[in-house]
Symmetry: C2
Subunit: 369 residues, 2 copies
């Protein structure tokens, strides 16, 4: 086994390639421009695997992430987060270099950035198709018209279309529930498009969330998709939402075993909240902070071990409830794999990846800055 002695985020490139290819094909089959969200991997090396699949437009969630990928040559970047007017200097600098798209849903934001912009940016109006996080409701057509008038009047702003993240798909518990949410989001976007396309025949509708992009079937009227998490998937997607199979999960945290407790069939590993994040699932009313896999010699991993899971987590410790047969074969000094509940957060805290197939170490934005 390669020389791993501390918590290390393993990445199975084959699984990532498959996840990318599957989504590329899905976008092609539905005539969608694929604008993957890079908030999950946050890695220029992984971004190049998308380039090989002819991806040239991407989505990110902060100006910092946009700068990072622009530095690596990406030329069409959408920041899918409500435009932060305080960051106008960085926006100006970036808009000079690349085609930058921003999200807005408030007349004040539009007025303020318009007043300070030195280069052209594209604007998506953000639509709340049911997640009630950010954006305008599709029935707020008066506000939308006011925003469009502001954009029309501006020399620096171009209207690109409508953007929605139907994040309420994360509370779905089956493919059917995801599809219901997806159909509803699509129909809301379709109605908006129908309302505005005479005036703006080139407007684009973009939908982006991994559950809907993974299992949604009807895409009429939608032009672009921007899922992010699918690149790695995770336990939340596989076990709670039902948007992927456990075998699609492409990252696992390698954790050294530091304690064994026969009287309670538990083991302690080095692998805690600063590695996995504090995200958990409720399974049979128990919180689960990760599932366990055995690692092969090349650090790839096998199927999930039955009846064995991370039951509690503190800053550095993970405590794992084990099935009796699994416990029997575990010793202090072993390294086991933990599949994360939420891979975006695990990647963000780990700040880098150990690639199983090549043994390459690749960076995450958080290590680069």
């Amino acid at each position: 086994m390669p020389d791993i002695s501390s918590p290390t985020l393993l990445l199975d490139e084959q699984k990532v390639y498959k996840n990318i290819e599957r989504m590329v094909k899905k976008a092609e089959a539905n005539n969608l421009t694929f604008k993957p969200h890079f908030k999950t991997h946050q890695s220029v090396q992984i971004s190049r695997w998308f380039k090989k699949n002819n991806v040239d437009k991407i989505t990110v969630s902060s100006i910092k992430m946009a700068e990072y990928f622009a530095d690596d040559g990406w030329q069409d970047i959408t920041i899918a987060f409500p435009c932060n007017v305080l960051e106008i200097n960085r926006i100006n600098k970036l808009a000079k270099k690349i085609s930058l798209s921003l999200l807005a849903s408030d007349p004040k934001t539009i007025a303020q950035i318009n007043a300070s912009l030195q280069n052209t940016v594209q604007i998506y109006i953000e639509i709340d198709t049911g997640s009630h996080r950010t954006g305008l409701r599709p029935d707020q057509t008066e506000v939308i018209e006011r925003l469009l008038d502001q954009i029309q009047d501006s020399e620096s702003l171009n209207f690109r279309g409508f953007y929605s993240h139907p994040g309420h798909s994360y509370s779905a518990q089956s493919k059917e529930e995801i599809r219901t949410i997806h159909r509803h989001a699509v129909s809301q976007m379709q109605r908006l498009k129908a309302h505005f396309e005479d005036q703006y025949p080139e407007l684009l509708c973009c939908l982006g969330d991994t559950p809907c992009c993974s299992v949604g079937k009807k895409w009429e009227g939608i032009d672009e998709m921007s899922p992010g998490n699918f690149v790695f998937y995770d336990l939340m997607q596989a076990e709670a939402i039902g948007s992927c199979k456990a075998d699609d999960i492409a990252v696992a945290l390698a954790c050294p075993v530091v304690g064994t407790y026969p009287e309670r069939n538990e083991i302690a590993v080095h692998g805690g909240a600063i590695h996995l994040s504090k995200e958990s699932l409720k399974i049979n009313a128990q919180p689960v902070f990760g599932r366990i896999v055995r690692l092969n010699d090349d650090l790839t991993w096998n199927r999930i071990v039955d009846n064995t899971y991370v039951k509690s987590i503190s800053q550095e410790h993970g405590i794992i409830t084990c099935s009796a047969p699994f416990f029997e074969h575990i010793e202090i000094g072993d390294i086991i794999g933990v599949l994360p509940v939420h891979s975006c957060l695990t990647a963000d805290t780990m700040k880098g990846y150990h690639c199983c197939r090549t043994a390459d170490i690749i960076d995450h934005l958080q290590a680069a800055h």
Copy 2:
């Protein structure tokens, strides 16, 4: 207001100084050696504020953290995490430079490190006084004796004493509950000491968790205390456990307001799980991911705003439920403060601090490596 445009972790030095001084005095009053745990701040600059208070022994939770503080001149460091035998090379390197103490509670661990050690290390035997995370139960005297025999027989291992983190104090909901847990932990350590002190008259008993160290009253038989979180405290300590006052909380996340939603009295801020962590409290059956404070011109903050809290959190977004009077005065482009639920995790994800009183930017281990 200083130039802040993105999520920034504010640190009020006055509050940190007060938190340190209060704990220094508590240790002195109870004849305890103060060995603060540096896992919370993870900052060499903050570590120097402890040095000014004549602290010369510290506690950390990983070899990486030990190396970081040793590089800044700390000479007596305890890694309060079950010794990870796979890290023996780094342990050897560090033990050559400083007085290094490790935790162990397993004969296999002791045998393995003993076989590979090139320099002397001190060993604490870890005791589980009720948290059921790691360590031996105090009644496992046979295993303890076996460990002590191994340590006796070794040329590289010195027995330093017993260490316990009564982390079950984190489930306490009042000062009285904390004190009950504390009394029980102290009495278990006292009994152990009584059992072994004839043979080991110099053995030390160390207890370290912020709730017990903050409000525990009886310390007879205990020699050292190693709390960590108290340096910043947080909402969990102030509101759920009751170990500090809200005014003692020394860090707040400055978050730009990016959306306002009058129909639901909510605002959106840039400040999500990658800034605050996903830790939450349940208050009136609602999850709370942070409380809100208004910031002054120098970025210090005022008392908690009533009936206003972070109700949900995603990777970059925080959604805040506001009282009507607070909502009325908030605008897009404002910056508000969020008191974190768990300051250790917030500091770890933010990787640095903006000091309110001096405007200094100081580093966290995660930015340094």
